[in-house]
Symmetry: C2
Subunit: 540 residues, 2 copies
């Protein structure tokens, strides 16, 4: 199968039209049915698949970096009677379990990025739904700050997943309904079992939408509300930078970028991910793409390709190389620069690191060479890994160092930093690491004593220890590991985000494996066919 490309550009979009006008950007969904992600289904009625969502993710990212003048994003559709009818059901029905789960995860991340842009970048969003807004379409609307529904006597918002397909509105829908929009739980229950959805006054009364607007006043009210949302934004943005293509070299065994490299050992079912540090200290005047941005965009792309194109590679070692002082200088410069561009770079780093946390692979960080570079923002890769193996070298050249990037900004989806996650319940230990890190390199043995390294071993033992650990990990059931990692990585408080990835997605994954949805007589399998689904009635 061809490798999946997550890179695109507005000039090449097949399913969306992006336009900007002053401080308002408009993203119009106009799904081209003949260009699905894989052949085998048609994208009717603005239903979406991975190719549609890749463009959406690209558009949100580009607006953040390339259009700092934009303060409100209007998401709407080019069809007159349909906003979006959700994820394409035939696509779901034909997909493997692994693809379905990773597709849902990616779409969830994209929707969270809309909320992240609103919360941290002064980029509000308005879903202007001038027609049917169903399933994933309504979930997209729920991720916007406000939702406007046309009041035409027929257009409704709906979650038909449970009644029609025997699955969940799993792209955050259930969680956002009750936790974000605070729809009363018994009403949410009614709504989620009503295939035809809810329209008009009741949709507004129940809190399902924010605004109800007639067809005649539609354009005017949308424009007015977008203007108002834009006017509320206080966060300074810019300067603009153009996101240049990543264009990795891709072979079945290797993804090679400028700063990131992933190699797969297909026989051993293991991989190795290397992130290289900067060649010089970054400047953040947006005249050129700094390492802090480029390396993390590359890492993001590599993680997505790992998820979709290397499903058998369950165990990945993570290494870094470079000059630790340069990484720390980049981090400090980035934190000090007050421009919107610098903020965007940090927010992107944070999102990429969250993507890493949410990637269902075993990650063992490894520091085993003198140029190992787990410093500052790259140290987060070690703290986020399931384990961290460090070689104790005689010269004490191998070590870790900290920067401002480790002291709170780079939160996981729980809202805790990775250091606070590591020392959950003992914040003083995180402070101790930061204080020691301020003095310079922390060699492997000391890093183990401080609780940073999982295992530190000398040259006599290190290679065997790591080799056995990797082989053992690669021999275990990938499903049990996914569940185990999802439980151990997210210590502490839960948030809307962790509820979506931990609770809602876990239930959806379970439901996707059940005969009632995906079996021969399941509702998802039989959708669109005359045969009625046959359910197994046992409740679990």
């Amino acid at each position: 199968m061809d490798p999946t490309s997550f890179e695109t550009h507005p000039s090449r979009y097949k399913h969306w039209r992006l336009t900007t006008n002053g401080d308002i950007a408009t993203l119009r969904m106009a799904v081209d049915g003949d260009h699905p992600f894989r052949p085998g289904y048609e994208l009717k009625l603005n239903s979406y698949d991975l190719s549609v969502d890749i463009e959406l993710a690209d558009a949100i990212q580009r607006i953040r970096f390339e259009h700092p003048e934009v303060k409100c994003l209007v998401i709407t559709a080019d069809l007159d009677r349909v906003f979006c009818s959700g994820a394409n059901i035939y696509m779901l029905g034909q997909s493997t379990h692994s693809f379905k789960v990773n597709f849902c995860k990616f779409t969830n991340e994209t929707r969270l990025y809309l909320e992240d842009a609103s919360a941290h970048s002064g980029l509000a969003s308005l879903a202007a739904c001038k027609g049917t807004t169903a399933g994933g379409g309504y979930e997209l609307a729920l991720a916007c700050d406000e939702t406007m529904l046309v009041d035409d006597g027929s257009s409704a918002v709906s979650f038909p997943e449970t009644p029609l397909l025997a699955v969940l509105p799993g792209t955050g829908g259930l969680t956002r309904l009750v936790d974000k929009r605070k729809v009363r739980r018994d009403r949410a229950d009614v709504f989620c079992t009503l295939a035809e959805g809810i329209k008009g006054k009741r949709a507004k009364d129940w809190g399902l939408v924010d605004h109800l607007v007639s067809r005649t006043k539609w354009d005017e009210v949308v424009a007015q509300r977008a203007k108002e949302l834009a006017a509320k934004q206080q966060v300074a943005r810019g300067p603009a930078i153009t996101l240049s293509p990543l264009e990795p070299k891709v072979t079945p065994e290797r993804l090679a970028y400028r700063f990131v490299e992933f190699t797969a050992d297909v026989t051993a079912r293991t991989g190795n991910l290397v992130v290289r540090g900067p060649e010089a200290a970054d400047t953040f005047d947006a005249t050129s793409e700094p390492w802090s941005l480029r390396a993390f965009r590359e890492l993001d792309d590599a993680l997505l390709r790992l998820r979709f194109d290397y499903p058998d590679i369950g165990m990945v070692t993570v290494r870094t190389s470079g000059n630790q002082d340069l990484v720390r200088e980049c981090d400090e410069a980035l934190a000090k620069t007050s421009s919107g561009f610098a903020r965007e770079v940090r927010l992107l780093q944070r999102r990429v690191l969250k993507r890493y946390d949410n990637t269902a692979r075993s990650f063992y960080a490894v520091a085993d060479k003198a140029d190992s570079c787990f410093a500052g923002v790259l140290l987060e890769l070690a703290l986020g890994a399931d384990r961290f193996y460090m070689l104790i070298d005689g010269d004490e050249k191998i070590g870790v160092s900290t920067s401002v990037a480790n002291s709170g900004f780079m939160t996981t989806s729980t809202g805790l930093s990775r250091l606070d996650t590591r020392f959950y319940g003992e914040p003083a230990r995180a402070q101790k690491v930061l204080a020691r890190g301020a003095e310079g390199l922390i060699p492997s043995e000391e890093a183990e004593q401080l609780g940073i390294a999982t295992i530190a071993a000398d040259e006599i033992d290190f290679d065997d220890e790591l080799r056995i650990a990797v082989e053992e990990r690669a021999s275990l059931s990938p499903d049990a590991l996914t569940g185990m990692e999802a439980s151990l990585r997210f210590v502490g408080p839960e948030t809307l985000e962790t509820k979506i990835f931990g609770r809602l997605s876990a239930w959806q994954n379970w439901i996707f494996t059940r005969a009632n949805s995906t079996g021969q007589h399941g509702a998802l399998t039989l959708y669109g066919q005359p045969e009625r689904p046959q359910f197994q009635w046992k409740r679990t």
Copy 2:
């Protein structure tokens, strides 16, 4: 199949010995291998199944009510080299998915009850593990306040589930490891993949156990530590009351108790649960069993039988009947009585209501008769239901009323009351209901306006509305409904408890459906056989 009985008594225990000595109770696990819950496997090495856990739950409950002098419970084993080897694997391998999930849920509830007793009833617990403490055995230890492991060079604590069985330590194990005991997540990762577990000093250093004691000093140190834990307890207990047998009349279509009745319509796959109010106001001097205790013990038993013996009944209407003033009097008297016994009754009501929240059935509360009695603690059944249907009668005799039981004590597992859950983010609306309720009965129409009723309809529409809603619900996929209800019922904050039921259990349920654990070549299926499991390697 014979109906499942959750009633037992220490005199009939087959798997545990309960003794008390002053303020210390000792519960010794001595599983009788020849008395499994169902024939087909042998309970070797203190492995457990539902029959073992029913006795454990009974013992904890009886200590709370019948032995108020006890301030510390020591959980230990009669075997010399084995504390407990966890849930019986052959039992799991032979069980249906539905049974496995419900078995895990029940054992999770039992372990949470140990923590509840410690937190609220002044009953500490000490796991005295003088030998192998594996899987569910270690999960039981984790639910105790403190864990003592024998330091004999061989006894270890372990979670072999992932490496040996391709499933999770799903009885709270993963969550308690990192969230309760705050074991560092990378160490937890190592521990959870080490089939042989961790013993001795490392177990203590990593925070896996609290005390490490030699064989020679074992009895003395256990007794000493139990005494110290007992001495710390400040909560007044008692007076004692004997928990009398419930002895329901059971037929395939009906469970009949004194105050509770469940009837099943097997053809329609629906059920009706009725809870009757008290015949007189309760007194809480423990000379007789008050309605507040009896009715909720009956409800608890009915819920458990519903889960295990009526798997096809997915849709249950919940009705109440009786005198609302009497319920409110009982609630007020219970809240005012300062004895330990009264506290135990309230805590039991709270636990039973949580069991209701966590029961994977659609519950529609229905108030459609003049003697309907959704008052005070019984109103919680309507607030906890997925929907609440109320008939608007001409006389306004049908309505709801509130009591002290609705104002905060009866929390769900999120820590919010059911009124605060209903009006999540709008606490003033909950207060408004309580203020209005203090003035007397709130008739159906007003209850709908206040946000208590989901649907209120008059006599012309009510029967059809309810009938159609019930039929529709009963026609939907039971799996999708389980996932949907699990998402909508638990709005707001997450706790150790909701993490266990929402995140950990959902992942475990998913894993239980995967071929890598329960398929023909799965690790759980093949356990104990010479054939090695064959895994499908795709990560999801």
